[in-house]
């Protein structure tokens, strides 16, 4: 496979990757369908921002955010079932159950652990030990500017955490199970080893939760933009959107079976950090996963960092300290 040169790298040498927006197919069908899939993303983003901007204090709560988040995802699952981008990514009953199991772990065991050692604990500790009055000027900025800054700061942290996972073996061991997904669906962001989900939570979490409405607005960027990373629906995404934000096209390149392509597009909500740091590849891929598309089962995903970590450590030890005890006879 020849691949395409992007900067100093050859993308698509191991597995097919379409590079360049001009080569990516558009939504097919009648004018109404085309219009719907062109305006849906910006319209949903605008509507959600308007809601959080104007909602009365009694409604602008974390509880409402969870309800809206679940409702929005159910709507997107419906769109995946009706208008799948690739038939080979079609959501099946078994995939849905498997994805929901990982989501379930996130909402229960992981959030329980988070209270003691995760972002909740870190936020509490930082708020207690730092004089936040020095940052009061932040709360005087317009709400949307605050939200934008929170979102960008979180995403910057997440970009480097994610890039670190692809470049440092101990972190990669936690992230690898997520790269065994063979198709993209709305809930696939939750699929992975709990240790990775915990670490990514640290990346997303931050210290600015003292601004409730701005934080909720920032969360909306994650919901109404970041969620599309894993969606199996084709949109005619506007040019400005795909320049600024991560899309399912970008993220499919990141999950490609092609090794070089998988080392691109590390951002979560924003793609601009990839553009700034030279890791962005505009394109899309259909064949996803690792080891030629082997599906990793839940029980393997749960223990992978430990079993692989043990195997790696054993190999390292053997290479460094073990010497052959006997020379085989010729």
């Amino acid at each position: 496979m020849a691949g395409v040169r992007v900067g100093k790298r050859i993308i698509g040498g191991d597995s097919p990757v379409t590079v360049g927006w001009e080569n990516i197919p558009k939504v097919e069908g009648g004018p109404a369908r085309k219009l719907f899939f062109t305006i849906f993303q910006p319209a949903a983003l605008l509507a959600l921002i308007a809601f959080w901007y104007y909602a009365p204090n009694s409604l602008a709560t974390a509880k409402t955010a969870i309800i809206i988040g679940i409702g929005f995802k159910v709507l997107l699952i419906g769109m995946e079932l009706l208008y799948p981008r690739h038939k080979s990514w079609q959501l099946t009953w078994k995939e849905l159950c498997s994805d929901l199991f990982y989501i379930g772990l996130g909402y229960t065991l992981l959030s329980m652990v988070d209270v003691y050692i995760g972002s909740d604990a870190i936020i509490g500790w930082v708020q207690k030990s730092y004089d936040w009055d020095k940052l009061n000027w932040f709360t005087t900025l317009p709400l949307l500017v605050q939200a934008l800054l929170i979102s960008l700061i979180f995403d910057f942290g997440q970009y480097w955490m994610h890039r670190g996972m692809h470049n440092w073996h101990p972190l990669w061991l936690t992230h690898a199970p997520h790269h065994y997904i063979t198709q993209l669906n709305i809930n696939k962001g939750a699929v992975g080893n709990p240790v990775e989900l915990f670490l990514i939570g640290l990346g997303i979490g931050g210290f600015f939760d003292f601004l409730p409405r701005a934080a909720l607005l920032a969360g909306t960027f994650g919901l109404a933009i970041g969620t599309y990373q894993h969606i199996n629906v084709r949109f005619n995404t506007p040019r400005w959107w795909r320049f600024l934000f991560n899309t399912t096209e970008h993220h499919s390149v990141h999950h490609s079976q092609d090794y070089e392509a998988s080392r691109s597009n590390f951002g979560a909500t924003w793609i601009i950090f990839d553009r700034i740091f030279g890791t962005c590849v505009d394109g899309e891929a259909e064949h996803l996963g690792m080891e030629g598309g082997r599906r990793m089962q839940i029980r393997e995903a749960m223990v992978y960092p430990f079993t692989e970590g043990y195997a790696t450590a054993k190999d390292w030890w053997r290479q460094r300290f073990d010497r052959p005890s006997a020379v085989p006879a010729e």
Binding site: W93, Y107, T108, Q297
Partner: protein, 228 residues
């Protein structure tokens, strides 16, 4: 899988499909090739009986849910039928998932109790956290642009205290675990009906030749995603 009559209905689908026109077992099993010709699939044919086991099937494999099965060509009242008994570890796991989340909910309830006792003990010893807390101030006014655009003012301390009182002070809640338990129960009931229905439809199409070509094509697509 264990052979447990009655209980095995949880993870087993049984049924039969008429073969039209009547076919020999060899001819019948040949038609199942698009479903069974995939990496990680082990097939054994013994006369009129075919047994298969799929080791970690791909997501789009049409037999992904029923990864083991026995298919037998039988003659009944002058008709040829394919009798099948398919087993699904996935159905069993989804059946068990509600119990797992109920257990997590129960563990959360215990943890909440434990935390409450610990807080009460601390309060009794005079180590109340509230004393360490800095005095909260009323929030400042919104930026002039937000005021002009009509955004609601931030909640006052009194409103915040009222909300926190309504929400409670517990760090944990068993609610998500109870909801997930319910979701998995519904998913199991749906899957127990829907997956055998899909399986039966697939077998019918493949065996009675309605779209063998299409299924061959989808099997080729599946192979692209498989390890050698």
């Amino acid at each position: 899988m264990l052979n447990l009559p009655y209980i095995d209905r949880i993870w087993t689908a049984r049924g039969s499909i008429p073969l039209e026109p009547p076919r020999t077992p060899k001819d019948t099993f040949l038609r199942l090739d698009p479903l069974l010709d995939a990496a990680g699939t082990h097939v054994e044919i013994d006369g009129d009986t075919l047994t298969y086991v799929k080791d970690n099937p791909a997501a789009q494999d049409k037999l992904a849910t029923f990864s083991r099965g026995t298919l037998r060509v039988v003659q009944e009242q002058g008709n040829t039928r394919l009798r099948y008994k398919l087993t699904s570890p996935a159905l069993l796991l989804v059946f068990l998932a509600p119990f797992l989340f109920l257990a997590i909910a129960q563990a959360t309830v215990f943890l909440i109790d434990y935390e409450r006792h610990a807080e009460e003990k601390k309060a009794a010893e005079g180590k109340d956290k509230a004393k360490d807390k800095k005095k909260e101030k009323e929030p400042g006014p919104l930026n002039a642009i937000d005021q002009f655009l009509g955004a609601p003012a931030p909640e006052t301390l009194a409103e915040k205290k009222k909300r926190e009182k309504e929400e409670g002070t517990d760090k944990h809640t068993p609610k998500p675990a109870y909801i997930l338990s319910g979701i998995f129960a519904v998913l199991y009931l749906f899957g127990r009906w829907f997956e055998p229905f899909l399986m039966r439809r697939t077998l019918r199409r493949v065996l009675n030749g309605q779209s063998v070509q299409a299924d061959h094509a989808s099997a080729d697509r599946m192979k692209l995603n498989r390890p050698n």
